[in-house]
Symmetry: C2
Subunit: 168 residues, 2 copies
């Protein structure tokens, strides 16, 4: 086995997104057992100007599909941010994973020096492929998954780090 741009991206996103989907199952069980309003979890923010749990999941999905599509040179699928329930968030994750799985090693390997241009607030930032994957997309992806986890954990959902890491 040799490390490659594909190995460092697709299987990693697929594993952690699957784990996040399982974590959301535990959040659903928590809500059901206590007859809670699910919005108490999905709209929860760790601080008033932080993004709520729903956005954390959406952004994690977008980080994963964005880098995979950009490296492969295919169009980024547009997924509207219209999720309300935990089942909706699981569906968002499932369609993200389904897209990521369509991309092959042949489309991603060798993209270390590929120029990636990201426009934020009208300002362009240029990366090479490896820098974008390892230095931006992966830490950003893990940040939002961990923050979704922390929001649920803070609200008493019974999950542990093993649920986040899964079986790599």
């Amino acid at each position: 086995m040799i490390i490659s741009m594909y190995q460092a991206s697709v299987p990693r996103f697929v594993n952690i997104l699957g784990n996040l989907s399982n974590i959301i199952d535990k959040a659903q069980a928590h809500v059901d057992a206590r007859k809670l309003d699910v919005a108490t979890l999905t709209n929860y923010r760790l601080f008033p100007d932080m993004l709520p749990m729903t956005s954390q999941v959406q952004i994690a999905c977008d980080a994963a599909k964005g880098v995979v599509a950009r490296l492969a040179g295919v169009e980024i699928p547009v997924h509207e941010d219209n999720e309300h329930t935990l089942a909706d968030l699981k569906a968002r994750i499932a369609k993200t994973v389904a897209f990521i799985r369509t991309v092959t090693p042949g489309q991603i390997d060798g993209t270390e020096d590929k120029e990636i241009v990201i426009t934020r607030h009208g300002k362009e930032t240029r990366y090479n492929g490896m820098q974008f994957l390892l230095g931006h997309a992966l830490p950003n992806f893990y940040f939002h998954v961990a923050t979704a986890y922390n929001i649920l954990r803070h609200n008493g959902v019974e999950i542990g780090k093993r649920d986040y890491l899964g079986n790599p």
Copy 2:
């Protein structure tokens, strides 16, 4: 540039640990400006049975030095968990970074298939080097850095995701 086990580890840990150190500077400024007891941050947990902020930083440091040492086949430096202040945590990060920087690409590259055995609670888990780095150590590292961030953010420290990502 070609992705390698070194590129996927040492520069990534060094970057994010530096960002975490800068985030702790902002936490110190927050404490100083409000004349807070620093323990209100360092001992803070997002849930009673989660680990406090200090442990999140210690574990992030240990995840980084552990994987780098294991891949390189050198002894893991022992750093005692005896930090109390934010300055102590910055020193812990600094000595972790100093160790990581001593390891060269020649010591880490080509370790994709190296067997890594981790013993937890008396039970052995076996990984190959690539699986351990990409599937365990990196997501675990980012989890604890993001959780330290979330604890500080939840307590009103003025930081944003740019502080976490830094300049990759």
